[in-house]
Protein backbone atom coordinates (compact mmCIF):
# COMPACT_ATOMS: atom_id res chain seq x y z
CA UNK A 1 0.00 0.00 0.00
CA UNK A 2 1.48 3.38 -0.93
CA UNK A 3 1.34 6.68 0.96
CA UNK A 4 -1.60 8.01 -1.05
CA UNK A 5 -3.66 4.94 -0.30
CA UNK A 6 -2.74 5.11 3.36
CA UNK A 7 -3.84 8.76 3.47
CA UNK A 8 -7.21 7.89 1.93
CA UNK A 9 -7.70 5.04 4.38
CA UNK A 10 -6.97 7.36 7.25
CA UNK A 11 -9.51 9.91 6.02
CA UNK A 12 -12.37 7.49 5.57
CA UNK A 13 -11.76 4.88 8.24
CA UNK A 14 -9.25 6.41 10.68
CA UNK A 15 -7.08 3.46 9.76
CA UNK A 16 -3.36 3.76 10.23
CA UNK A 17 -2.64 0.10 9.76
CA UNK A 18 -4.46 -3.12 9.08
CA UNK A 19 -7.52 -3.01 11.34
CA UNK A 20 -8.29 -5.37 14.16
CA UNK A 21 -11.14 -7.73 13.51
CA UNK A 22 -12.75 -8.51 10.19
CA UNK A 23 -12.01 -6.37 7.17
CA UNK A 24 -12.14 -6.14 3.43
CA UNK A 25 -10.16 -3.51 1.58
CA UNK A 26 -11.14 -2.83 -2.01
CA UNK A 27 -8.64 -0.94 -4.14
CA UNK A 28 -9.34 0.13 -7.70
CA UNK A 29 -11.83 -2.66 -8.06
CA UNK A 30 -9.70 -5.43 -6.61
CA UNK A 31 -9.52 -7.06 -3.22
CA UNK A 32 -6.48 -5.72 -1.40
CA UNK A 33 -6.88 -7.72 1.76
CA UNK A 34 -9.62 -9.59 3.52
CA UNK A 35 -9.96 -11.26 6.88
CA UNK A 36 -12.85 -13.17 8.38
CA UNK A 37 -13.06 -13.88 12.07
CA UNK A 38 -14.76 -16.71 13.96
CA UNK A 39 -17.94 -14.62 14.20
CA UNK A 40 -17.79 -12.52 11.04
CA UNK A 41 -17.43 -14.13 7.64
CA UNK A 42 -16.67 -12.15 4.49
CA UNK A 43 -17.14 -13.84 1.11
CA UNK A 44 -17.19 -12.85 -2.54
CA UNK A 45 -20.69 -12.62 -3.95
CA UNK A 46 -22.04 -15.65 -5.75
CA UNK A 47 -24.34 -13.84 -8.16
CA UNK A 48 -21.58 -12.49 -10.34
CA UNK A 49 -21.95 -8.87 -9.25
CA UNK A 50 -18.99 -7.02 -7.79
CA UNK A 51 -18.94 -6.91 -4.02
CA UNK A 52 -19.08 -9.04 -0.91
CA UNK A 53 -21.46 -10.77 1.44
CA UNK A 54 -20.81 -10.21 5.13
CA UNK A 55 -22.27 -12.71 7.58
CA UNK A 56 -22.37 -11.54 11.18
CA UNK A 57 -23.25 -14.36 13.55
CA UNK A 58 -25.33 -14.04 16.66
CA UNK A 59 -22.22 -14.66 18.76
CA UNK A 60 -20.83 -11.32 17.61
CA UNK A 61 -20.79 -8.90 20.54
CA UNK A 62 -18.97 -5.58 20.29
CA UNK A 63 -16.86 -6.56 17.28
CA UNK A 64 -16.11 -4.42 14.24
CA UNK A 65 -15.93 -4.85 10.46
CA UNK A 66 -14.03 -2.43 8.25
CA UNK A 67 -14.84 -2.35 4.55
CA UNK A 68 -13.09 0.68 3.03
CA UNK A 69 -12.93 1.36 -0.71
CA UNK A 70 -10.04 3.25 -2.24
CA UNK A 71 -9.84 4.56 -5.78
CA UNK A 72 -6.70 6.19 -7.12
CA UNK A 73 -7.30 5.73 -10.84
CA UNK A 74 -8.81 8.35 -13.07
CA UNK A 75 -11.54 7.38 -15.53
CA UNK A 76 -12.62 4.50 -13.30
CA UNK A 77 -16.24 3.68 -12.58
CA UNK A 78 -17.65 0.89 -10.50
CA UNK A 79 -20.86 -0.30 -8.88
CA UNK A 80 -20.35 -2.51 -5.86
CA UNK A 81 -22.95 -4.52 -3.99
CA UNK A 82 -22.29 -5.35 -0.34
CA UNK A 83 -24.86 -7.32 1.62
CA UNK A 84 -24.80 -7.58 5.39
CA UNK A 85 -26.58 -10.43 7.11
CA UNK A 86 -26.76 -9.68 10.83
CA UNK A 87 -28.16 -12.53 12.93
CA UNK A 88 -30.60 -12.08 15.79
CA UNK A 89 -29.06 -10.49 18.86
CA UNK A 90 -25.67 -9.63 17.32
CA UNK A 91 -23.97 -6.35 18.25
CA UNK A 92 -21.58 -4.98 15.64
CA UNK A 93 -19.82 -1.84 14.43
CA UNK A 94 -19.50 -1.53 10.66
CA UNK A 95 -17.16 1.06 9.22
CA UNK A 96 -17.49 1.67 5.52
CA UNK A 97 -16.27 4.54 3.46
CA UNK A 98 -14.87 5.50 0.13
CA UNK A 99 -11.86 7.60 -0.65
CA UNK A 100 -11.11 8.77 -4.16
CA UNK A 101 -7.91 10.45 -5.25
CA UNK A 102 -8.32 11.45 -8.83
CA UNK A 103 -5.32 13.13 -10.39
CA UNK A 104 -6.49 12.76 -13.94
CA UNK A 105 -8.81 14.59 -16.25
CA UNK A 106 -11.61 12.03 -16.35
CA UNK A 107 -14.34 11.12 -13.91
CA UNK A 108 -13.86 8.57 -11.14
CA UNK A 109 -17.04 7.13 -9.77
CA UNK A 110 -18.01 4.75 -7.02
CA UNK A 111 -21.56 3.57 -6.44
CA UNK A 112 -21.83 1.46 -3.32
CA UNK A 113 -25.07 -0.38 -2.74
CA UNK A 114 -25.29 -1.64 0.81
CA UNK A 115 -28.10 -3.83 2.00
CA UNK A 116 -28.58 -4.60 5.67
CA UNK A 117 -30.66 -7.54 6.83
CA UNK A 118 -30.74 -6.99 10.58
CA UNK A 119 -32.18 -9.79 12.70
CA UNK A 120 -34.33 -9.53 15.79
CA UNK A 121 -32.91 -7.44 18.63
CA UNK A 122 -29.58 -7.06 16.85
CA UNK A 123 -27.68 -3.80 17.18
CA UNK A 124 -25.70 -2.24 14.36
CA UNK A 125 -23.71 0.94 14.31
CA UNK A 126 -22.87 1.85 10.75
CA UNK A 127 -20.35 4.59 10.07
CA UNK A 128 -19.85 5.77 6.52
CA UNK A 129 -17.44 8.48 5.40
CA UNK A 130 -16.85 9.85 1.97
CA UNK A 131 -13.82 11.77 0.96
CA UNK A 132 -12.22 12.76 -2.31
CA UNK A 133 -9.20 14.71 -3.39
CA UNK A 134 -7.11 15.14 -6.47
CA UNK A 135 -5.07 17.62 -8.34
CA UNK A 136 -6.47 17.01 -11.78
CA UNK A 137 -9.67 18.30 -13.23
CA UNK A 138 -11.40 14.95 -13.12
CA UNK A 139 -14.70 14.77 -11.31
CA UNK A 140 -15.21 12.60 -8.25
CA UNK A 141 -18.63 11.04 -8.09
CA UNK A 142 -20.11 8.88 -5.35
CA UNK A 143 -23.61 7.52 -5.23
CA UNK A 144 -24.15 5.49 -2.10
CA UNK A 145 -27.37 3.54 -1.73
CA UNK A 146 -28.30 2.04 1.62
CA UNK A 147 -31.13 -0.40 2.00
CA UNK A 148 -32.00 -1.25 5.58
CA UNK A 149 -34.39 -3.94 6.81
CA UNK A 150 -34.83 -4.11 10.55
CA UNK A 151 -36.57 -7.07 12.15
CA UNK A 152 -38.46 -6.80 15.41
CA UNK A 153 -36.55 -4.98 18.12
CA UNK A 154 -33.49 -4.39 15.93
CA UNK A 155 -31.61 -1.12 16.12
CA UNK A 156 -29.43 0.52 13.50
CA UNK A 157 -27.56 3.73 13.99
CA UNK A 158 -26.10 5.25 10.84
CA UNK A 159 -23.59 8.07 10.73
CA UNK A 160 -22.90 9.35 7.28
CA UNK A 161 -20.46 12.10 6.56
CA UNK A 162 -19.37 13.81 3.39
CA UNK A 163 -17.01 16.62 4.08
CA UNK A 164 -14.71 17.18 1.17
CA UNK A 165 -13.97 16.82 -2.45
CA UNK A 166 -17.01 14.98 -3.84
CA UNK A 167 -18.19 16.80 -6.93
CA UNK A 168 -21.45 15.03 -7.30
CA UNK A 169 -23.35 12.69 -5.08
CA UNK A 170 -26.80 11.18 -4.94
CA UNK A 171 -27.32 9.50 -1.61
CA UNK A 172 -30.29 7.21 -1.32
CA UNK A 173 -31.32 5.53 1.90
CA UNK A 174 -34.33 3.27 2.27
CA UNK A 175 -35.41 1.61 5.50
CA UNK A 176 -38.24 -0.66 6.54
CA UNK A 177 -38.82 -1.24 10.24
CA UNK A 178 -40.74 -4.04 11.95
CA UNK A 179 -42.30 -3.71 15.40
CA UNK A 180 -40.15 -2.07 18.08
CA UNK A 181 -37.26 -1.59 15.68
CA UNK A 182 -35.32 1.63 15.90
CA UNK A 183 -33.44 3.63 13.30
CA UNK A 184 -31.21 6.60 14.02
CA UNK A 185 -29.58 8.51 11.16
CA UNK A 186 -27.11 11.36 11.49
CA UNK A 187 -26.04 12.93 8.24
CA UNK A 188 -23.46 15.67 7.78
CA UNK A 189 -22.68 17.29 4.49
CA UNK A 190 -20.45 20.15 3.47
CA UNK A 191 -20.41 21.24 -0.15
CA UNK A 192 -18.44 24.01 -1.81
CA UNK A 193 -17.24 25.08 -5.25
CA UNK A 194 -19.75 23.85 -7.84
CA UNK A 195 -20.56 20.61 -6.03
CA UNK A 196 -23.95 18.99 -6.04
CA UNK A 197 -25.33 16.74 -3.30
CA UNK A 198 -28.69 15.08 -3.24
CA UNK A 199 -29.97 13.18 -0.25
CA UNK A 200 -33.05 11.00 -0.37
CA UNK A 201 -34.31 9.24 2.74
CA UNK A 202 -37.34 7.03 2.78
CA UNK A 203 -38.32 5.32 5.99
CA UNK A 204 -41.29 3.01 6.42
CA UNK A 205 -42.41 2.27 9.96
CA UNK A 206 -44.43 -0.90 9.63
CA UNK A 207 -44.74 -2.27 13.14
CA UNK A 208 -46.09 -0.94 16.40
CA UNK A 209 -43.40 0.61 18.55
CA UNK A 210 -41.10 1.27 15.59
CA UNK A 211 -39.24 4.55 15.76
CA UNK A 212 -37.01 6.59 13.48
CA UNK A 213 -34.96 9.70 14.14
CA UNK A 214 -33.34 11.23 11.06
CA UNK A 215 -31.22 14.34 11.47
CA UNK A 216 -29.37 16.00 8.62
CA UNK A 217 -27.07 18.95 9.10
CA UNK A 218 -25.48 20.55 6.11
CA UNK A 219 -23.51 23.54 5.00
CA UNK A 220 -23.69 24.71 1.40
CA UNK A 221 -20.98 27.21 0.49
CA UNK A 222 -19.91 29.06 -2.67
CA UNK A 223 -21.90 27.94 -5.73
CA UNK A 224 -22.78 24.47 -4.49
CA UNK A 225 -26.27 22.99 -4.56
CA UNK A 226 -27.99 20.61 -2.19
CA UNK A 227 -31.30 18.85 -2.36
CA UNK A 228 -32.85 17.07 0.58
CA UNK A 229 -35.77 14.70 0.17
CA UNK A 230 -37.27 12.78 3.01
CA UNK A 231 -40.35 10.71 3.47
CA UNK A 232 -41.48 8.86 6.59
CA UNK A 233 -44.44 6.52 6.34
CA UNK A 234 -46.10 5.53 9.58
CA UNK A 235 -48.18 2.37 9.22
CA UNK A 236 -48.66 1.51 12.87
CA UNK A 237 -48.41 2.91 16.38
CA UNK A 238 -44.99 4.37 15.71
CA UNK A 239 -43.01 7.55 16.09
CA UNK A 240 -40.93 9.29 13.48
CA UNK A 241 -38.89 12.45 13.82
CA UNK A 242 -36.80 14.17 11.21
CA UNK A 243 -34.85 17.35 11.16
CA UNK A 244 -32.96 19.05 8.40
CA UNK A 245 -30.92 22.02 9.26
CA UNK A 246 -28.89 23.80 6.62
CA UNK A 247 -26.53 26.74 6.66
CA UNK A 248 -26.41 28.49 3.35
CA UNK A 249 -23.55 30.76 2.28
CA UNK A 250 -22.44 32.81 -0.70
CA UNK A 251 -24.31 31.78 -3.87
CA UNK A 252 -25.31 28.31 -2.73
CA UNK A 253 -28.78 26.82 -3.09
CA UNK A 254 -30.56 24.42 -0.76
CA UNK A 255 -33.88 22.74 -1.37
CA UNK A 256 -35.58 20.71 1.38
CA UNK A 257 -38.66 18.68 0.58
CA UNK A 258 -39.85 16.65 3.54
CA UNK A 259 -42.94 14.48 3.49
CA UNK A 260 -44.73 12.69 6.28
CA UNK A 261 -47.37 10.07 5.60
CA UNK A 262 -49.47 8.78 8.48
CA UNK A 263 -51.46 5.71 7.54
CA UNK A 264 -52.49 4.84 11.07
CA UNK A 265 -54.27 6.98 13.62
CA UNK A 266 -51.57 6.22 16.20
CA UNK A 267 -48.63 7.23 14.03
CA UNK A 268 -46.79 10.24 15.46
CA UNK A 269 -44.64 11.99 12.89
CA UNK A 270 -42.74 15.22 13.24
CA UNK A 271 -40.55 17.15 10.86
CA UNK A 272 -38.42 20.20 11.53
CA UNK A 273 -36.61 22.08 8.82
CA UNK A 274 -34.55 25.24 8.81
CA UNK A 275 -32.41 26.83 6.13
CA UNK A 276 -30.62 30.06 6.76
CA UNK A 277 -27.35 31.90 6.75
CA UNK A 278 -25.17 32.12 9.84
CA UNK A 279 -26.87 34.50 12.25
CA UNK A 280 -25.14 37.88 12.43
CA UNK A 281 -25.36 37.74 16.22
CA UNK A 282 -23.39 34.50 16.33
CA UNK A 283 -20.60 36.09 14.30
CA UNK A 284 -20.66 39.17 16.54
CA UNK A 285 -20.47 37.14 19.74
CA UNK A 286 -17.37 35.30 18.54
CA UNK A 287 -15.86 38.56 17.28
CA UNK A 288 -16.24 40.05 20.77
CA UNK A 289 -14.10 37.11 21.90
CA UNK A 290 -11.34 38.31 19.55
CA UNK A 291 -12.01 36.17 16.47
CA UNK A 292 -12.08 37.71 13.01
CA UNK A 293 -15.27 37.35 11.01
CA UNK A 294 -13.67 34.59 8.95
CA UNK A 295 -12.48 32.70 12.04
CA UNK A 296 -15.91 33.07 13.63
CA UNK A 297 -17.53 31.61 10.52
CA UNK A 298 -15.14 28.64 10.54
CA UNK A 299 -15.82 27.91 14.21
CA UNK A 300 -19.58 28.08 13.74
CA UNK A 301 -19.45 25.67 10.78
CA UNK A 302 -17.03 23.35 12.55
CA UNK A 303 -19.34 23.18 15.57
CA UNK A 304 -22.44 22.75 13.44
CA UNK A 305 -20.96 19.77 11.59
CA UNK A 306 -19.17 18.19 14.55
Amino acid sequence: MDELEKMLLMQIADLHKVPDGAYNIRKNGEADGRRSTPHIRIEARKDGKAGIDIFISKETQGESVHIPVVITQTDYRETVYNDFYVEDGADVLIIAGCGIHNCGQATSEHSGIHTFHVGKNAKVRYVEKHYAAGDGNGENVMNPTTDIRLDEGARLEMETTQIKGIDSTARTTRARLAANAELVIREKIYTHGRQYAKTDFSVTLDGDGAGADVVSRSVAAQSSRQEFYLRIDGNGKCHGHSECDAIIMDDAQVVAIPALAANNVDAELIHEAAIGKIAGEQLLKLMTLGLTEQEAEEQIIKGFLS
Partner: protein, 237 residues
Protein backbone atom coordinates in the same frame (compact mmCIF):
# COMPACT_ATOMS: atom_id res chain seq x y z
CA UNK B 1 -8.96 53.77 31.08
CA UNK B 2 -11.89 54.12 28.74
CA UNK B 3 -12.94 57.57 27.64
CA UNK B 4 -15.92 58.71 25.58
CA UNK B 5 -15.62 62.22 24.16
CA UNK B 6 -18.78 63.92 22.91
CA UNK B 7 -20.20 60.68 21.55
CA UNK B 8 -23.50 60.85 19.69
CA UNK B 9 -25.43 58.09 17.99
CA UNK B 10 -28.45 58.42 15.77
CA UNK B 11 -30.15 55.58 14.00
CA UNK B 12 -29.70 55.97 10.26
CA UNK B 13 -31.87 53.11 9.13
CA UNK B 14 -35.12 54.82 10.00
CA UNK B 15 -35.69 52.55 12.96
CA UNK B 16 -37.57 54.80 15.33
CA UNK B 17 -37.19 52.32 18.19
CA UNK B 18 -33.44 52.56 18.26
CA UNK B 19 -32.09 54.39 21.25
CA UNK B 20 -30.14 57.53 20.50
CA UNK B 21 -27.26 59.14 22.35
CA UNK B 22 -26.56 62.84 22.40
CA UNK B 23 -23.13 64.24 23.22
CA UNK B 24 -22.11 61.74 25.87
CA UNK B 25 -18.75 62.21 27.57
CA UNK B 26 -17.56 59.97 30.37
CA UNK B 27 -14.56 58.07 31.71
CA UNK B 28 -14.25 54.60 33.16
CA UNK B 29 -11.14 54.00 35.26
CA UNK B 30 -12.58 52.88 38.58
CA UNK B 31 -13.02 49.31 39.74
CA UNK B 32 -16.80 49.14 39.25
CA UNK B 33 -18.70 51.68 37.19
CA UNK B 34 -22.47 51.37 36.85
CA UNK B 35 -24.59 52.93 34.16
CA UNK B 36 -28.24 53.24 35.01
CA UNK B 37 -31.33 55.03 33.78
CA UNK B 38 -34.84 54.39 32.51
CA UNK B 39 -35.63 51.86 29.80
CA UNK B 40 -34.92 53.24 26.36
CA UNK B 41 -32.52 55.88 27.69
CA UNK B 42 -29.61 54.64 25.58
CA UNK B 43 -27.71 52.43 28.03
CA UNK B 44 -27.45 49.37 25.78
CA UNK B 45 -26.56 51.57 22.83
CA UNK B 46 -23.68 52.88 24.87
CA UNK B 47 -22.45 49.37 25.64
CA UNK B 48 -22.63 48.43 21.95
CA UNK B 49 -20.69 51.57 21.00
CA UNK B 50 -17.93 50.61 23.43
CA UNK B 51 -17.74 47.04 22.10
CA UNK B 52 -17.69 48.35 18.52
CA UNK B 53 -20.92 46.65 17.45
CA UNK B 54 -22.20 50.05 16.36
CA UNK B 55 -20.19 53.16 15.53
CA UNK B 56 -20.86 56.66 16.83
CA UNK B 57 -22.14 59.25 14.40
CA UNK B 58 -20.00 61.78 16.22
CA UNK B 59 -17.33 61.85 18.89
CA UNK B 60 -14.39 59.68 19.90
CA UNK B 61 -13.78 56.61 22.01
CA UNK B 62 -10.35 56.20 23.60
CA UNK B 63 -8.87 53.19 25.36
CA UNK B 64 -5.78 53.98 27.43
CA UNK B 65 -5.36 57.14 25.38
CA UNK B 66 -5.57 55.38 22.01
CA UNK B 67 -8.36 56.35 19.65
CA UNK B 68 -10.33 53.16 19.00
CA UNK B 69 -13.37 54.84 17.37
CA UNK B 70 -12.70 53.24 13.99
CA UNK B 71 -11.54 49.85 15.24
CA UNK B 72 -13.63 46.75 14.54
CA UNK B 73 -15.24 44.53 17.17
CA UNK B 74 -12.39 42.02 16.77
CA UNK B 75 -9.66 44.65 17.11
CA UNK B 76 -11.26 46.09 20.25
CA UNK B 77 -11.64 42.63 21.74
CA UNK B 78 -7.96 42.00 21.13
CA UNK B 79 -7.07 45.32 22.78
CA UNK B 80 -8.77 44.17 25.94
CA UNK B 81 -12.48 44.92 25.82
CA UNK B 82 -14.96 42.20 26.75
CA UNK B 83 -18.68 42.49 26.31
CA UNK B 84 -21.40 40.32 27.81
CA UNK B 85 -24.58 40.36 25.73
CA UNK B 86 -27.85 41.24 27.38
CA UNK B 87 -29.44 38.45 25.38
CA UNK B 88 -26.84 35.73 24.93
CA UNK B 89 -26.56 34.06 21.55
CA UNK B 90 -27.32 30.37 20.98
CA UNK B 91 -25.16 28.15 18.78
CA UNK B 92 -26.16 24.81 17.35
CA UNK B 93 -23.21 22.48 17.68
CA UNK B 94 -20.80 24.60 19.70
CA UNK B 95 -20.42 23.21 23.21
CA UNK B 96 -20.01 25.19 26.40
CA UNK B 97 -16.37 24.08 26.48
CA UNK B 98 -15.84 25.23 22.87
CA UNK B 99 -17.22 28.66 23.70
CA UNK B 100 -15.20 29.08 26.91
CA UNK B 101 -12.07 27.91 25.04
CA UNK B 102 -12.67 30.45 22.27
CA UNK B 103 -13.13 33.12 24.94
CA UNK B 104 -9.87 32.16 26.66
CA UNK B 105 -8.16 32.32 23.26
CA UNK B 106 -6.49 28.95 23.66
CA UNK B 107 -7.28 25.32 24.20
CA UNK B 108 -8.17 25.06 27.85
CA UNK B 109 -8.30 21.96 29.99
CA UNK B 110 -11.57 20.57 31.23
CA UNK B 111 -10.66 21.57 34.78
CA UNK B 112 -9.97 25.18 33.72
CA UNK B 113 -13.31 25.37 31.95
CA UNK B 114 -14.94 23.86 35.02
CA UNK B 115 -13.45 26.55 37.22
CA UNK B 116 -15.04 29.32 35.17
CA UNK B 117 -18.40 27.56 35.20
CA UNK B 118 -18.28 26.88 38.92
CA UNK B 119 -17.66 30.56 39.52
CA UNK B 120 -20.97 31.40 37.88
CA UNK B 121 -22.73 28.72 39.88
CA UNK B 122 -23.05 26.01 37.25
CA UNK B 123 -22.16 22.46 38.10
CA UNK B 124 -19.49 22.20 35.46
CA UNK B 125 -19.59 18.51 34.76
CA UNK B 126 -23.23 18.73 33.73
CA UNK B 127 -22.59 21.55 31.29
CA UNK B 128 -19.16 21.20 29.78
CA UNK B 129 -20.22 19.06 26.80
CA UNK B 130 -23.65 20.54 26.30
CA UNK B 131 -24.40 22.50 23.19
CA UNK B 132 -25.06 26.20 23.65
CA UNK B 133 -28.45 25.74 22.01
CA UNK B 134 -32.14 26.07 22.77
CA UNK B 135 -31.98 23.27 25.35
CA UNK B 136 -30.39 25.70 27.82
CA UNK B 137 -32.59 28.06 29.80
CA UNK B 138 -32.21 31.82 29.60
CA UNK B 139 -30.63 31.88 33.05
CA UNK B 140 -28.12 29.15 32.18
CA UNK B 141 -27.15 30.96 28.98
CA UNK B 142 -26.70 34.18 30.89
CA UNK B 143 -24.30 32.57 33.32
CA UNK B 144 -22.35 30.92 30.50
CA UNK B 145 -22.15 34.36 28.89
CA UNK B 146 -20.62 35.73 32.09
CA UNK B 147 -18.22 32.75 32.20
CA UNK B 148 -16.94 33.66 28.70
CA UNK B 149 -16.06 37.14 29.96
CA UNK B 150 -14.36 35.63 33.01
CA UNK B 151 -12.31 33.38 30.75
CA UNK B 152 -11.13 36.38 28.75
CA UNK B 153 -9.94 38.26 31.82
CA UNK B 154 -9.46 41.57 30.00
CA UNK B 155 -8.74 45.00 31.46
CA UNK B 156 -12.23 46.27 30.61
CA UNK B 157 -15.38 44.16 30.87
CA UNK B 158 -18.78 45.50 29.91
CA UNK B 159 -21.92 43.75 31.17
CA UNK B 160 -25.30 44.70 29.74
CA UNK B 161 -27.88 43.97 32.44
CA UNK B 162 -26.14 40.90 33.84
CA UNK B 163 -28.85 40.36 36.43
CA UNK B 164 -31.62 39.87 33.87
CA UNK B 165 -32.73 36.26 33.86
CA UNK B 166 -30.35 35.11 36.57
CA UNK B 167 -32.99 32.88 38.05
CA UNK B 168 -32.44 31.14 41.36
CA UNK B 169 -29.01 32.57 41.69
CA UNK B 170 -28.60 35.42 44.09
CA UNK B 171 -27.27 38.87 43.38
CA UNK B 172 -24.71 38.27 46.07
CA UNK B 173 -23.14 35.54 43.93
CA UNK B 174 -23.13 37.81 40.91
CA UNK B 175 -21.45 40.51 42.94
CA UNK B 176 -18.81 38.13 44.23
CA UNK B 177 -18.13 37.08 40.61
CA UNK B 178 -17.41 40.73 39.80
CA UNK B 179 -15.22 41.10 42.86
CA UNK B 180 -13.14 38.02 42.05
CA UNK B 181 -12.87 39.14 38.47
CA UNK B 182 -11.45 42.46 39.55
CA UNK B 183 -8.94 40.76 41.85
CA UNK B 184 -7.61 38.88 38.85
CA UNK B 185 -7.71 41.53 36.13
CA UNK B 186 -7.13 44.66 38.23
CA UNK B 187 -9.12 46.34 35.49
CA UNK B 188 -12.46 48.10 35.24
CA UNK B 189 -15.88 46.51 35.16
CA UNK B 190 -18.66 48.50 33.56
CA UNK B 191 -22.13 47.28 34.46
CA UNK B 192 -25.40 48.42 32.98
CA UNK B 193 -28.04 47.76 35.57
CA UNK B 194 -31.28 48.80 37.20
CA UNK B 195 -30.62 46.82 40.34
CA UNK B 196 -30.01 48.79 43.49
CA UNK B 197 -27.86 46.01 44.95
CA UNK B 198 -25.54 46.15 41.96
CA UNK B 199 -25.49 49.95 41.98
CA UNK B 200 -24.51 49.68 45.64
CA UNK B 201 -21.12 48.16 44.85
CA UNK B 202 -20.29 50.79 42.22
CA UNK B 203 -17.44 53.20 42.78
CA UNK B 204 -19.06 55.49 40.25
CA UNK B 205 -22.60 55.70 38.92
CA UNK B 206 -23.50 57.31 35.61
CA UNK B 207 -27.16 58.14 35.07
CA UNK B 208 -28.44 58.36 31.51
CA UNK B 209 -31.84 59.67 30.50
CA UNK B 210 -33.08 60.49 27.01
CA UNK B 211 -29.66 59.82 25.52
CA UNK B 212 -27.82 62.26 27.78
CA UNK B 213 -25.69 61.88 30.88
CA UNK B 214 -27.75 63.53 33.59
CA UNK B 215 -25.62 62.74 36.63
CA UNK B 216 -22.22 61.28 37.49
CA UNK B 217 -20.91 60.62 40.95
CA UNK B 218 -20.29 58.23 43.81
CA UNK B 219 -23.13 56.05 45.00
CA UNK B 220 -23.52 58.33 48.02
CA UNK B 221 -24.05 61.27 45.70
CA UNK B 222 -26.26 59.60 43.13
CA UNK B 223 -28.27 56.85 44.78
CA UNK B 224 -30.46 58.81 47.23
CA UNK B 225 -31.84 61.09 44.50
CA UNK B 226 -32.17 58.25 42.03
CA UNK B 227 -34.21 56.10 44.38
CA UNK B 228 -36.33 59.00 45.61
CA UNK B 229 -37.15 59.98 42.05
CA UNK B 230 -37.93 56.47 40.87
CA UNK B 231 -41.47 56.38 39.61
CA UNK B 232 -43.12 53.49 37.91
CA UNK B 233 -42.59 54.23 34.19
CA UNK B 234 -46.20 53.33 33.49
CA UNK B 235 -47.29 56.29 35.54
CA UNK B 236 -45.05 58.73 33.68
CA UNK B 237 -46.53 60.75 30.87
Amino acid sequence: MLELQHVSFAATDGDANKEILDDVSLTVSERFVAITGPNGSGKSTLAKLIAGIIRPTQGKILLDGEDITDLSVTERARKGISYAFQQPVRFKGLTVKDLVSLAAGRKITVSEACNYLSEVGLCARDYIDREVNASLSGGELKRIEIATVLARGTALSVFDEPEAGIDLWSFQNLISVFEKMHERTKGSILIISHQERILNIADKIIVIANGKVTKVGSKEEVLPNLLAGRICPALQN
